[in-house]
């Protein structure tokens, strides 16, 4: 071999050696890089695991992770408590807990879950390990792998057995209340008719007596007949009052937007207002949500009271309204005879009237109070003897 060739080969060999060393160096660098990346990943992974574990533990609601066949893979403490099964001891499939009537719905919902990726407000009945029946509500979602294929399903479970029980109890109570209300109304109806029948007879008989006694009736006799008639009338009004009072339902009637300005105007137009009495309405009477009929009753009773008890000449009634504390505060003011302080509570009791005249039934204000109670409103008054009375009451917006 020529020296030239030897030289060339030596140079090539030298290059190869250097290339090998370079490769080894690169290899070492890469190994170190790999090691560090590994360390970082491990660190991040354990951080994430700790976060997940603590999240898992702190979720108060039962949480389960399952495969797409219902086999539970992961449960938090709350779900172990709820179901009574622990996957560390025995395998557990959610399908086995379902109430048989809810099975089909569960299958349908699961299809929907797979399709949409999430499913909210799934309600069904399940049995726990102790075979106790519970109502649950689940919000669930699908977990996908890197290729976007569904691999697991997870769900957060809410035990709504108690909620449902409470709801049912409320419905029962409402039903009972409605029935008892109707019974009361029917009773009042029957009673009032049965009581009125003898009154009619009495009126007829007293009339005949009066006719028969006419030839020899003196002033006393005439006056006694008068009293008799008045008392019979009064009794009639009282009975009517009871019927009205009993028919003020405690059960909520339909609420609609009611314009109080229109109602008050209706009342002023229809009830008899003597000429010497002037009524002024402030124009800001609002529209509120409520039962038109009851609100009409409420205002009518108060306004007709004001008319009845106002000053005989130059009577003045003012109806006003202002906003206060998220409610409406109304006032009906008259300049009439006033009400003594000692009666301020009593007048709201049924059958209490400060007026002996036969047309007063003593029921009006008690009906007002009953209606206000339904709306959680309050009523009170200020009054000065012979100067006037102002009734204040509140209604919600």
């Amino acid at each position: 071999m020529s020296q030239q060739k030897i030289d060339i080969l030596e140079k090539a060999l030298k290059r190869e050696r250097l290339a090998r060393k370079a490769a080894e160096k690169i290899l070492e660098e890469k190994s170190l890089e790999l090691y560090q990346t590994n360390q970082n990943l491990s660190k991040v992974l354990s951080e994430k695991e700790i976060q997940l574990e603590s999240l898992f533990k702190t979720i108060v609601d039962p949480y389960i992770l399952m495969d797409l066949y219902g086999n539970v893979l992961k449960m938090n403490n709350a779900s172990i408590d709820f179901f009574g099964y622990n996957i560390e001891r025995d395998s557990f499939n959610v399908l086995s807990t379902l109430h048989k009537d809810d099975y089909e719905y569960a299958m349908e919902s699961f299809k929907q879950l797979l399709k949409e990726g999430s499913f909210k407000n799934f309600k069904a009945r399940v049995y726990n390990k102790k075979r106790e029946l519970k109502w649950i509500e689940i919000n669930s979602s699908i977990v996908y792998d890197d290729d976007d294929k569904p691999t697991f399903a997870q769900g957060i479970i809410r035990d709504i057995s108690d909620d449902l029980k409470v709801q049912k109890e409320r419905e029962e109570l409402l039903k009972k209340l409605t029935i008892s209300n109707k019974e009361l109304k029917d009773f009042a109806h029957v009673v009032s008719h049965d009581l009125k029948s003898p009154l009619r007879s009495m009126n007829a008989l007293v009339t005949w007596l009066q006719e028969d006694c006419e030839p020899f009736a003196n002033e006393d006799i005439k006056q006694n007949f008068d009293y008799l008639f008045r008392k019979i009338d009064k009794m009639d009004h009282l009975i009517s009052g009871i019927l009205k009072y009993a028919s003020v339902d405690r059960v909520e009637a339909k609420k609609q937007q009611t314009d109080l300005a229109i109602i008050v105007q209706e009342i002023i137009d229809t009830i008899h207002i003597p000429e010497h009495i002037k009524i002024e309405v402030s124009n800001d009477l609002p529209t509120i949500r409520g039962d038109k009929f009851r609100l009409h009753q409420l205002f009518q009773n108060l306004i007709s009271n004001a008319v009845k008890y106002s000053k005989p000449e130059n009577g003045f009634i003012q109806i006003d309204c202002e906003e206060k504390d998220e409610k409406w505060k109304f006032s009906i003011k008259d300049n009439g005879i006033g009400i003594e302080k000692k009666y301020h509570r009593k007048i709201f009791d049924i059958f209490q009237t400060l007026d002996d005249s036969q047309s007063s039934t003593g029921v009006g204000l008690s009906i007002v109070k009953k209606i206000l109670a339904i709306y959680n409103g309050k009523i009170w008054l200020t009054s000065e003897f012979d100067k006037g009375t102002t009734f204040y009451f509140t209604l919600p917006k």
Partner: protein, 133 residues
Amino acid sequence: MQHLNILFIDDDEIERLKFNRICKQSDYKTTILEAENGEKALKILDKQLPQLIILDLNMPKMNGIEFLNILRKNERLKYIPIVILSSSNNKEDVKKCFEIGISGYLIKPLRYEDYKQTINKLLAYWSANNLLI
């Protein structure tokens, strides 16, 4: 002036007295047949047919609506005009009565004077329009 034969059915004795007295004191010629319940009324109707029946709804044993139904189903009796005189203004009662078929529904007022007026108006109307059977 026509002679009015009226069958008055009411369980309350005073009500029957009232009706009788007012009819007698009125300007019209009337013959009042009284019955205190549906059974007795049917017995009377077996023998004679009045021109008008005045019926109270609220009666023990057979109530007014039952009686109404029996009358309306009876071939012989179903054309007699019936006026209800009742203490009840119950909407359902009124509706039911008109569905079965009545000529009028009056509510008993409290005061005797008002009642007298009502009956007199009733008599005036039926005198003018009465059907001869």
